[in-house]
């Protein structure tokens, strides 16, 4: 059974629409949720959790319809939005004392082990913490009630590389029992290369692709050629950059056979996102 199933999620604002976003996440995996600023990642997550009233679609967590079982689903959910930015003048221990009352499965020993691991002094007030420490405090709260599903919106953005690496190890250890999963959105694609099993990519409110990392990468190739070759391939390129010698561009793997005599190379996640989002790309067919 899937831990998370998002079906045809949609939400319209005056100048932005989330259109029929669907994906699913099985237990034991980490899914990276990527897209550029304003692509709809946070709107998707907030719509999933009823923080934003969705126009259509449904969300199931652990087999339960979220709308009908909101409290039960939230008990099994660890959720953070970036750094902890609430109750700045309160001590961390007061906030934790309040938070733990809401979770029957709160594990005090686990919470204190995360505080120790992240070097957090719970006698400090929130406004005495750096941005990175606030992220870590939010994570300590989210990870301490034995949730099955974790949804993290930009959890690594305020962290230094060492802390990020430590955090990614925490993520891996969370899912290694095969019962829990993590969905996390990020701009730091290198983090996903290190720990994600699945990628869900969203652009302008529409889902581009949701699949495992290897399939995702194998769906694309990078090709390069001279300037005059560009004219022949332009219609197939999902995005490209021109330079003094020619061009480098992203192409769908199945279109590679139509580009003979070009140099090609595997595309990494970052290249895929950068080229796919290029402003000078041509009209692209849906994947």
């Amino acid at each position: 059974m899937n831990l998370l199933e998002v079906n045809s999620l949609s939400k319209s604002y005056k100048d932005f629409s989330l259109k029929d976003v669907s994906f699913k996440l099985e237990p034991g995996y980490i899914m990276g949720f990527i897209g550029r600023n304003g692509a709809g990642k946070t709107t998707t997550i907030k719509s999933m959790l009823n923080l934003v009233s969705k126009d259509g679609g449904s969300v199931r967590m652990n087999g339960l319809e979220f709308n009908d079982n909101e409290v039960k689903c939230k008990e099994q959910l660890g959720y953070i939005i970036g750094e902890f930015d609430c109750y700045k003048h309160h001590r961390l221990k007061t906030i934790a004392k309040v938070t733990k009352r809401f979770y029957d499965d709160w594990d005090d020993a686990l919470y204190h082990s995360y505080l120790k691991r992240f070097s957090i002094d719970e006698n400090k007030k929130v406004d005495e913490l750096s941005a990175g420490m606030r992220v870590k405090f939010a994570l300590a709260l989210a990870l301490s009630h034995n949730a099955e599903l974790f949804i993290f919106d930009e959890p690594t953005s305020g962290l230094d590389p060492v802390s990020r690496d430590d955090l990614l190890n925490v993520f891996r250890s969370v899912v290694e029992d095969g019962k829990r999963s993590i969905l996390f959105s990020t701009h730091i694609i290198s983090d996903l290369e290190k720990c994600a099993d699945f990628i869900t990519y969203i652009k302008n409110g529409s889902l581009v692709l949701s699949t495992d990392v290897e399939s995702f990468k194998q769906s694309f190739r990078l090709i390069s050629g001279s300037k005059h070759e560009l004219e022949g391939y332009r219609h197939m390129l999902l995005g490209y950059k021109e330079n003094a010698f020619g061009f480098t561009g992203l192409i769908r793997a199945e279109d590679l056979e139509n580009c003979p005599n070009t140099k090609n190379a595997p595309a990494d996640l970052e290249s895929i996102m950068i080229y796919y989002e290029k402003e000078n790309n041509n009209e692209k067919a849906a994947l």
Partner: protein, 227 residues
């Protein structure tokens, strides 16, 4: 609800609530617009909402395993507790005021049981205006407060105007004489005691009904709101 109320007291209680609770001491002033202390409690509640807005309380609350409607109900329970505690604090102060100064007040309603009824009306006006307008947007605490001020001060000035006029015109108008003898006074007759008791009951019912209506509207407003 118990968990949410605990959260309200631990994380949302603004020090201004204690400060404005002390406005009960204004009942010691010999002549004063005695409905104002009750307004100060509304002011304290505004501070609670303003602080919660700055603290991203709504976002924190709705990410906990509770629904948006429960979050609103808990806030209402918290506010009602603050309002009722202030009313309870007023009662002994009323006895002290009357023992020291007697019940005559040149600036409006006397410090008498009818004052409690008037406080219920002030709270009712505040609750029915402030909370639904706040939960419509979820962060404009000040705008909602200004709107509620209009209602509260309209009531305070109109009611005080009536009582000041009644004190001045009791000898020329049977209606004002009735007000002075039955409402704007310490009840020394059975009739005055019954009228003031009835006033308290009626105003308390208005308070309960309008607070429940306000809660329902606020729940609906927050349900629609994008956080």
């Amino acid at each position: 609800m118990k968990k949410l109320l605990y959260k309200e007291f631990k994380l949302c209680l603004h020090p201004a609530v204690f400060l404005f609770m002390a406005s009960v001491l204004l009942l010691f002033i010999p002549n004063y617009m005695f409905e104002l202390p009750c307004f100060f409690i509304c002011n304290a509640i505004f501070f609670v909402f303003q602080q919660c807005t700055l603290n991203n309380d709504l976002l924190f609350t709705v990410t906990l395993p509770v629904g948006k409607r429960e979050a609103v109900k808990a806030r209402f329970a918290f506010i009602v507790i603050i309002q009722l505690v202030f009313l309870l604090l007023c009662i002994p102060m009323m006895f002290v005021h009357n023992a020291v100064y007697g019940s005559q007040n040149a600036a409006g309603l006397d410090v008498c049981p009818a004052l409690i009824a008037s406080y219920f009306i002030v709270y009712s006006i505040f609750n029915i205006i402030y909370m639904p307008t706040f939960y419509k947007n979820g962060y404009k605490a000040g705008k909602s407060f200004v709107l509620s001020l209009i209602g509260i001060f309209a009531w305070i000035f109109i009611s005080n105007g009536v009582f000041i006029t009644a004190a001045a015109s009791r000898d020329v108008s049977a209606f004002f004489a009735w007000i002075e003898n039955n409402i704007d006074c310490l009840p020394t007759t059975q009739a005055a005691a019954s009228i003031q008791a009835a006033a308290i009951i009626v105003c308390a019912v208005i308070y309960v009904v309008l607070t429940i209506v306000s809660c329902r509207i606020s729940e609906r407003n927050l349900e629609k709101k994008n956080i």
